[in-house]
């Protein structure tokens, strides 16, 4: 109904991914990774993963739109 849900999902997780990956890159080597995440820069890596997920969702939404356009 109304909107293709893949669009907001894709947008939101892309935004989260950009934020986390950017923050991870800026804080690379920070103490907090040693304290919390076993020395792994999880912000950077998981941020990239979220970005990839968001991009896939956006691509699916786009494909859906193109298909709907062809049907019409």
């Amino acid at each position: 109904m109304g909107i293709d849900l893949r669009l907001p999902i894709g947008l939101m997780f892309s935004a989260f991914g950009l934020l986390l990956a950017g923050y991870g890159a800026a804080t690379h080597g920070d103490d907090m990774y040693l304290r919390h995440s076993l020395g792994i820069n999880m912000n950077l890596w998981w941020g990239l993963a979220l970005l990839a997920f968001g991009a896939v969702m956006l691509a699916l939404a786009r494909r859906g739109r193109v298909r709907a356009g062809l049907d019409r």
Partner: protein, 592 residues
């Protein structure tokens, strides 16, 4: 010290709020009729209703409660999924959805009216409406308490902001809004908890490392020790587990609770409606890894030296020292009483297992990821509230208001009433949250009463759908009798180590002691179910049956089997059910 969320963490939460509200605003213009508002115009594709079906139940109580249970009982907690939820989901998809969706009933109580009579519907509608607003209140209270404890947020602020956001998006976009946000929440929980499980498992050395650290074989096997209640940490034996949890309670919840069934009713076709629970079953099967493992890990890892230390709940130094003496287990802190002292029972410190999962988040997530984890938790609280609210406003408007108060108003009037009931439903929930905060016992009693009401429900639906001879009188008195049987059974039994009261034995005599509360609950359900079946059958045979023509589309033997032409064989409900079933057996064997 408390974890200090940074700007980045709050940004993530604020962005999430923005998307949630945005979806509500965009959907507003599509809400033209009451069917749009309450049933999403029956137009939602199966993958969305499927994820929402799963997610509506995945409130924070589930996420936190399963973590707590994992910490307490270990991998046996997976029974709630692998013998509980998933078989019931297969059943509702294959066998019950044809009647819910096919009868065009707009709610579960309305199905009862079509199949049985007005009084059975009234009983179900009223008890359900009361239950949902209170559950929503309990969910709010739990969230307020957790955010206060974990982050030092103001309780009133946490309740107000979450209630306002839920109100805004359900008011604007109705069921569609709730469903869309449930899907958003599903992805948040999954993507927010995968890194948690990854880091936790890596820290303890994988599943084998976790097994070694837990050091109790019974905590890492789900079936092996179920032969006798004395050998497993849950204190339950296999029969109570399979019949009580697996059959009566799980089927009762997944097959009759309008909160979840409403999601499938919003699907765009019969095939989609039947596929809804089956699509939900796939991720549901894997959820134990996301929600139970963190709890198990929390019990065996050490706190990080500089990181958050929840034992400093009340900030005074004195309390800190007290608690340091009474150390928790792993990173699970001890339970604190009103004055901030650890609770000690039988010379042992009681642990606050509900904090196992939240503590894992603050233990393993650096700022940034912490925002994502908190956002996932907040999202699950809010979608739990929204799910209850949309189920409530539908049952209120269609089954109570249209059913008994104003039968002949225009559709626009019912749409307006739906919006109004969203507002007052949430207001009652907020009030309930404060009652829960003041008087914990009242909520315990209420939840107990709800459990009595729910216990026999599945029997009524089972007989209603598969036995054409079942009558309205039979169903109504069967339900009442089942509820009374549940109360009576609870009233004369007691779990080991409890005193008579809310835990049972309130009828003055204790005829039987159960090894655990869980065993008592499962057997209460078994008694209620059996009583309901016997009474319904007996009374039905003594009363006049309804003519068969009236029961077409409502009873199995009088309804043509649904056909699924629109999808490929791989996507047919039956194929999905077989795949889910095989995977399920596999999972049970791997963790046997």
């Amino acid at each position: 010290m408390r974890p200090q969320p940074h700007f980045i963490d709050y940004s993530i939460i604020v962005i999430y709020f923005g998307f949630v509200l945005g979806i509500g605003f965009v959907l507003k213009k599509y809400m033209k009729t009451s069917a749009d508002f309450f049933l999403s115009g029956r137009s939602i594709p199966a993958w969305i209703t499927g994820l929402a079906f799963l997610s509506a139940n995945l409130g924070a109580q589930e996420v936190i409660g399963m973590g707590a249970s994992g910490a307490k009982y270990g991998i046996s907690t997976s029974h709630f999924y692998w013998i509980g939820a998933v078989p019931a989901m297969i059943f509702v998809g294959l066998f019950m959805m044809p009647f819910y969706y096919g009868s065009r009933a707009r709610s579960v109580p309305e199905y009862l009216k079509l199949r049985f009579d007005e009084k059975t519907r009234g009983l179900n509608a009223i008890s359900f409406a009361v239950m949902t607003v209170f559950s929503s209140g309990v969910s709010m209270y739990a969230m307020g308490k957790l955010l206060q404890l974990l982050l030092g947020w103001n309780f009133n602020f946490a309740i107000t902001i979450s209630a306002l956001i839920v109100l805004a998006y359900t008011f604007l976009g109705g069921l569609t809004s709730a469903i869309y946000n449930e899907v958003l929440q599903f992805f948040l929980i999954v993507l927010g908890f995968i890194p948690l499980v990854f880091l936790g498992l890596k820290d303890v050395g994988g599943w084998d490392g976790l097994k070694a650290r837990i050091g109790s074989d019974a905590m890492v096997h789900s079936w092996k020790y179920l032969g006798s209640p004395d050998t497993n940490p849950m204190g339950v034996e296999w029969f109570g587990m399979i019949m009580g949890l697996g059959f009566v309670l799980s089927f009762g919840y997944w097959c009759t609770d309008f909160l979840v069934v409403q999601r499938a009713m919003a699907a765009d076709s019969m095939t989609s409606a039947r596929r809804t629970p089956l699509i939900a079953a796939f991720p549901k099967m894997l959820f134990p890894f996301l929600v139970i493992l963190p709890g198990m890990i929390a019990g065996v890892v050490a706190a990080n030296s500089v990181g958050p230390n929840l034992t400093a709940k009340a900030s005074s130094l004195e309390v800190n020292q007290q608690i340091r003496l009474a150390a928790g287990k792993g990173i699970i802190p001890p339970k604190l009483d009103q004055s901030g002292q650890p609770v000690i029972k039988d010379g042992k410190v009681l642990l606050d297992f509900d904090l196992a999962t939240p503590m894992m988040l603050v233990r393993y997530f650096p700022s940034g990821l912490l925002g994502l984890g908190l956002c996932a938790l907040i999202a699950s609280f809010m979608s739990g509230m929204a799910g209850n609210t949309t189920a409530f406003n539908t049952v209120w408007t269609y089954d109570i208001y249209q059913g008994y108060i104003n039968k002949t108003a225009s559709d626009q009037h019912y749409l307006w009433m739906g919006r109004m009931s969203t507002v007052f439903g949430l207001l009652i929930s907020v009030a309930a949250a404060y009652v829960a905060r003041q008087f914990n016992n009242i909520m315990d009693v209420l939840q107990l009463v709800f459990a009595f009401v729910n216990a026999p429900l599945f029997a009524t639906f089972l007989l209603g759908m598969f036995w054409k001879r079942a009558t309205g009188h039979g169903a109504f008195f069967g339900l009442l009798g089942g509820t009374l049987a549940a109360a009576a059974h609870h009233g004369v039994t007691l779990p080991a180590g409890s005193t008579p009261g809310v835990k049972g034995g309130f009828l003055g005599v204790v005829l039987h002691h159960y090894p655990s509360e869980m065993a008592q609950n499962f057997w209460t359900a078994i008694f209620a179910f059996t009583t309901c079946v016997l009474l319904t059958v007996l009374i039905s045979l003594l009363t006049r049956p309804r003519p068969e023509e009236e029961l077409k589309g409502l009873v199995y033997s009088l309804t043509p089997k649904p056909k699924d032409e629109a999808v490929s064989w791989l996507q047919k409900p039956a194929t999905l059910a077989v795949i889910v079933g095989v995977l399920l057996v596999g999972l049970n064997l791997v963790f046997w």
